[in-house]
């Protein structure tokens, strides 16, 4: 229990502390320190849950089981490595004059605030609080997207704010409908939005209302996942903000939104006889996957390109969770992990690449490998990993997903394989000149911290070669929870 409170209180303390001292030169270190402590607490929490099983706080407001604790640990880990990257990066941005001290203060405070909102969304047991925390995560990041105050970034932030706000309002309507259905079954009104209680009573909930509710919830949280056609805000918001923000938005926030969808699907599946929720998720997921892989080809901005790659992968995961069954669910959980790790590593490298070239335009980034081999190789290996090259973990999870699709929906493997191919081509046609092209005159290496990249990519490599036993069992328990059958 203490571990759970620590996980939530540490980022809260961090937010308040950095709200006061976020402008000092030490603030980067404080940010790293708080994130490290949070990561420690999350590991402690994970150990507790793995040993003793699901944890429900005495007031029933917080609930942690094997499924969300793994996302908690992942969120805290990527939060830590991105904080390590962000310290020198933001100092460099300050030297370039893109941010002043006041904005640095805002940045640091909101970094921790954002982590807090995501962790709260993950561990809360109350569907209403889940909504509140998701909205809070938007509110925390919206001013960070416009941190540079260029016309583009202000536009991106406004789009992000309005589209996500409108989208997530639909999720609140869905939540009201769930409450409406639950209130007739569950005696104590205050318990009627608690996920653990709802899950236990899922069979008695009115299917008609829950179907309607799920449609609204899918539109709402789907907007945050970045599902096509609700994805318009995502490439803008992810590309215009400071790079550490892109890394955590792409690597983490999308996961949390997908987590919310999966939780709700578990609820709806318990109530409905049919697999309606699954079909909806499969449809939207596959559409996002195909559309995003096509859009990869048209990008001119490197961060936008990788944002579209995030949409593609989120679409794939949504599809896999919709597919259901133990194999697909296991694959999707693994894919969530490797995608987060790889994508945040890529954004870190991209941040350095953009600083080297002084631009985010793909046409202007050239010859990275000769100017600064570490960045060039990082980008090359990272992109190979995200495109699903063996022996990286993404290959493993995509292979599992393909196998699952062949088992249950053989003809859907065709669009999947085409999508993989198209996405692969889209990434590499842009990557090749950036890494190997002619070096422009006067291009110099920058002070780069490649530690997070190396750690992330090594982890992804390990997961691709052999998943450690304890991790496999961890994923398997989560699969048992979600798909109601285990794989191993």
């Amino acid at each position: 229990m203490t571990a759970l409170y620590c996980t939530l209180l540490l980022p809260l303390v961090g937010t308040v502390l950095l709200g006061f001292v976020g402008h000092s030169r030490k603030a980067g270190w404080i940010n790293v320190g708080v994130s490290a402590l949070t990561f420690g607490a999350s590991l402690w929490l994970a150990l507790n849950v793995l040993e003793d099983g699901a944890l429900l706080s005495p007031d029933k407001m917080l609930y942690v089981d094997v499924f969300n604790v793994y996302l908690v640990a992942l969120t805290a880990f990527v939060g830590l490595t991105t904080a390590i990257f962000s310290r020198p990066y933001m100092l460099h941005e300050m030297e370039r004059g893109r941010v002043n001290r006041k904005r640095l203060q805002l940045y640091h405070a909101m970094y921790q605030g954002f982590l807090l909102a995501m962790l709260l969304a993950l561990v809360t047991n109350n569907l209403g609080i889940l909504w509140v925390a998701m909205e809070a995560a938007t509110l925390a990041t919206v001013l960070l997207v416009s941190l540079y105050r260029t016309p583009e970034s202000v536009e991106a932030a406004w789009k992000y704010f309005v589209l996500c706000g409108v989208g997530i309002a639909q999720a609140l309507f869905g939540t009201v409908l769930v409450f409406f259905a639950a209130e007739r079954v569950i005696e104590n009104r205050d318990d009627a939005l608690l996920w653990s209680v709802l899950h236990a009573h899922a069979g008695q909930l009115e299917p008609a209302v829950l179907t309607l509710a799920f449609v609204f919830l899918l539109v709402g949280y789907g907007t945050k996942v970045g599902l096509v056609p609700l994805h318009n805000w995502l490439p803008d918001a992810h590309s215009e903000g400071p790079t550490p923000m892109s890394a955590v938005l792409s690597g983490l926030l999308l996961n949390v939104a997908l987590y919310a969808l999966v939780r709700l699907k578990m609820l709806v599946d318990g109530s409905l006889e049919s697999n309606l929720a699954g079909y909806l998720m499969m449809g939207f997921g596959l559409l996002s996957f195909m559309v995003a892989s096509l859009f990869l080809h048209r990008q001119r901005d490197i961060k936008r390109m990788f944002s579209y790659s995030s949409i593609e992968h989120m679409g794939l995961m949504t599809f896999a969770f919709g597919l259901g069954g133990s194999l697909a669910t296991f694959g999707a959980l693994l894919h969530m992990t490797v995608h987060s790790l790889t994508k945040s590593a890529i954004f870190v490298t991209v941040g350095h690449a953009a600083q080297i070239a002084g631009s985010q335009s793909i046409d202007k980034i050239r010859g990275l490998i000769r100017t600064q081999p570490a960045v060039g190789w990082g980008l090359l290996i990272g992109t190979a990993a995200i495109a699903g090259f063996p022996p990286f973990g993404v290959f493993m999870s995509e292979f599992l997903l393909l196998t699952a699709t062949i088992n249950s929906w053989p003809w859907l493997t065709v669009p999947l394989l085409i999508g993989f191919g198209v996405a692969f081509a889209g990434l590499f046609r842009h990557l090749h000149p950036m890494v190997y092209g002619e070096v422009p005159e006067g291009q110099h290496p920058v002070r780069a911290n490649m530690l997070p990249v190396v750690v992330h990519l090594l982890l992804v490599l390990c997961l691709g070669l052999a998943i450690p036993d304890f991790l496999a069992r961890w994923f398997d328990q989560a699969t048992l929870l979600i798909a109601r059958s285990s794989l191993l």
Partner: protein, 228 residues
């Protein structure tokens, strides 16, 4: 539905629901910024009146608190903030040009019919006014969405955004006697923060494009030329 069979409370709720929906239509038709904000405040007042009435009839005491919260937030604070911003940004007396007002209003009427259709499964579940209420609150949400889509001024979009929250709140209060208190407080907090952030954004937008017409926020498109 036979109106005379309904209790006095249910009839009153229906009247209030109709009035809330009417304010939504009025918001769509209104093009003067100052009046738009005033109408939004009226919607907030109607909403808090509904909440207090539901609280009295259902004896759910926590609803008094949320009624008060709604009144302070939606009827006083946010309209006051928007009004002050509008004066400071000197768009208070501006009239917004909107294309095809008639088509928009006809579309809005069609949306209301659609909402009743969507709420059909709920009608089979519960007798009485719940279906009406769910359909109307959904209509308020969708009309607010229409407002956001058809308007160009950032401030009108914010009014639409907040009016959308009103619709959601109306659904929660009337069909389920309000959400649990923690959730309501959380939502109110989010709305307040959002309102403040919108204010910050008006200045950022104006500083960057020298206007509050979001039409001119069009630099980010798919085939963009990246400028430095």
């Amino acid at each position: 539905m036979n109106l005379q069979l309904l209790s006095l409370y249910e009839q009153a709720i229906l009247v209030l629901a109709a009035m809330v929906l009417f304010t939504s239509f009025a918001l769509l038709a209104q093009t003067r910024i100052a009046n738009l904000i005033r109408l939004f405040a009226w919607q907030g007042i109607l909403l808090s009146a509904t909440t207090v009435m539901v609280a009295m009839v259902s004896k759910q005491h926590h609803l008094y608190i949320s009624g008060l919260l709604t009144f302070v937030l939606k009827a006083l604070m946010i309209p006051w903030m928007l009004n002050r911003l509008a004066i400071r940004l000197d768009i208070h007396r501006k009239v917004e040009t909107t294309a095809n007002q008639t088509v928009v209003l006809l579309g809005a009427a069609a949306l209301v019919v659609f909402c009743y259709y969507v709420a059909l499964p709920i009608a089979q579940l519960s007798a009485g006014i719940t279906r009406n209420v769910i359909a109307i609150s959904l209509a308020v949400v969708l009309l607010a969405l229409l407002l956001i889509i058809t308007r160009r001024k950032a401030i009108s979009q914010v009014v639409g955004f907040m009016s959308m929250e009103n619709g959601l709140f109306f659904a929660a209060v009337v069909s389920t006697y309000g959400m649990p208190m923690v959730v309501e407080l959380g939502v109110a907090f989010d709305v307040l923060v959002a309102a403040i952030l919108f204010g910050v954004f008006f200045f950022q937008i104006r500083a960057s494009i020298d206007s509050l017409d979001v039409d001119r926020l069009n630099r980010l498109t798919e085939a963009q030329e990246v400028e430095e």
